[in-house]
Symmetry: C2
Subunit: 223 residues, 2 copies
DNA sequence: TCCAAACCTGAAGAATGCTTCATATATCCG
DNA sequence: CGGATATATGAAGCATTCTTCAGGTTTGGA
C-alpha cells in the first residue's frame, strides 16, 4: 500500500495545568463517543470538539492533527487490553491447563466487553494510520504474558510455548471482536465463551510435550 | 450506533451493452486497486473513476452514490469467500476429523490470501455501511457448509455440529485477517496454518460425542 | 496587584469530496 | 441511412473537513 507521507503525530503541547489535563481526557472520551455514535468514517475533529464541549482550536492545541489524536486514542485502548491479559496471566502462574484456557478467554472477553464496539472500529482506524507497530507491540506483549504462564503450568510441559502463545493470541485478538459485534443473548455469549475455552484447552492438551511427541511419531509429516 | 438515514443503494442503471458491462467491471476492479494503494479512508469516487479510466459521471451512471459502489464491492467479495468455503466443504463429505480441520483452514486461507489486504479494508467499509446483514449472511453460509461437513464425518459423531461450526467460523473469520496482515515468511505462515489446524482438530476431537459426554461426566458444570 | 504564561475560542480560508447535468459520442435496429 | 436509445464526459456547484491564528480568558507566582 502506497501511503501519503506520514504527518507528525507528536503532541503540539503537553498539558501543564489540571484543567488542561482534564480537557485532554474529555477530548479522548469524546473521540470514543463519536466513534460509537457516528462510526469511523464520520469521525472528525469538528464533531469531537463539539462533543467534548471545547473549541476545535483547543483540540489542535494538544494534537497536531487528526491522525495524532486517533493514534493516541488507539494507543490507550491497546494498553488497556494488553494490561488486562498480562494481569490475568500474572495471577495465574502454576495453573492447570484448564485454568489457563479459561483465564485467557475470560480476561480478553472482559476487557473487550467493557468497550465492545470500540475495538473493531479502532482496529480499522489503525489500518489507515499505519499503526502496525503499535498493534504488534500489544500483540507481542500478550504473547509474552501467555507464554510465561504456559511455562509455569502445573500439570503440563509444552514443547514450544511461544508458538502456542502466538496462535492463541492471534485467535483471541481476531475472534473476540466478531463475538462482541454480534447481537447475542447472554446465554449465547456464555456458550461462545465456553466453546472458545474448550478449543483452547484441547489445543493445549494436544500441544503438551508427551502428546505432541506421540503425534509426531504416528503422523507422517507432509510439510 | 446511531447512523444517518441510509441512502439508496440500488443501481441507477443496469448495463445494457457489452461495453457498459465491461465498464462496470473495470470500476469494480479500480475500486479494489484504490483500496489497496490508498487505503479505505482515501478511497473516493474521483480516484476510482480516474483509476478506472472513466469519467466520474459514468461511475454515477451505474451507482447512485459512493456507498452503493462500496456495498456492491463488498457483496462480491463476501460471495467469493463464502463460495470457497462451501466448495471445499462439499468436496470433503465423509472425511476424517483431520481432513475436516485441514479443509477449513486451507480453504479460507487460500481464499483470503488471494486478496489479503482487501478484506480488512472492506470490513471498515462494511462497518460504515451498516452491512451487518451482508456479513451475517456470509457467516451463516459458511457455518452451514461446515456444519453439513461435520455431520458427514467418517470417523466421528458430534453432539452439536452447529455450535462447533459457529465457533470455527468465528475463529477463521476473525483470525485469518490477522495472519494475512502480518509480515510473515512462507515458513512462518505454514507454521501458523499448522497450528490453526491442530487447534481445530483437537477441538473437534474434544467435541466428539463420546469425548464430550465423558467430559461432562467428570467435570462439574459451574454455569 | 500585576504580568507572563497557560489555556481557550471560533471564524475564516484552503482543500477536498460528492454529486449533478448539459453536452457529446457510440450503438442498434427498422 | 437516420433516429432513438445507450453510454460517456468533466466542469461546476455545493457541502464538508482540516487547520490556523488573531484575540480573549484564566492561572500562578513574584
Amino acid at each position: 500500500m502506497g501511503k501519503a507521507s506520514r504527518p507528525t503525530l507528536n503532541r503540539r503541547k503537553l498539558p501543564r495545568q489540571a484543567r488542561s489535563a482534564v480537557t485532554v481526557d474529555v477530548i479522548f472520551e469524546a473521540t470514543i463517543q463519536v466513534l460509537l455514535s457516528d462510526g469511523p468514517i464520520r469521525l472528525n475533529t469538528t464533531r469531537v470538539a463539539r462533543r467534548a464541549g471545547v473549541s476545535v482550536g483547543t483540540l489542535y492545541q494538544y494534537f497536531p492533527n487528526k491522525q495524532a489524536l486517533l493514534f493516541a486514542v488507539l494507543e490507550r485502548h491497546l494498553a488497556v487490553l494488553a494490561d488486562a491479559i498480562a494481569k490475568a496471566c500474572d495471577e495465574n502462574r502454576c495453573a492447570t491447563v484448564e485454568k489457563i484456557a479459561e483465564t485467557v478467554v475470560k480476561a480478553y472477553l472482559n476487557a473487550r466487553m467493557a468497550q465492545a464496539e470500540v475495538s473493531p472500529a479502532l482496529a480499522l482506524v489503525a489500518m489507515e494510520l499505519d499503526a502496525r507497530e503499535l498493534i504488534d507491540a500489544a500483540l507481542r506483549r500478550s504473547e509474552k504474558a501467555i507464554e510465561t504462564m504456559l511455562s509455569t503450568a502445573s500439570d503440563s510441559r509444552f514443547v514450544d510455548p511461544r508458538v502456542i502463545a502466538q496462535t492463541i493470541t492471534a485467535v483471541i485478538y481476531g475472534t473476540v471482536p466478531a463475538f462482541c459485534q454480534r447481537v447475542m443473548s447472554p446465554a449465547a455469549r456464555r456458550e461462545a465463551e465456553k466453546q472458545l475455552t474448550i478449543m483452547f484447552r484441547s489445543y493445549l492438551i494436544a500441544q503438551r510435550s508427551s502428546a505432541a511427541e506421540a503425534r509426531r511419531a504416528t503422523t507422517p509429516s507432509s510439510r
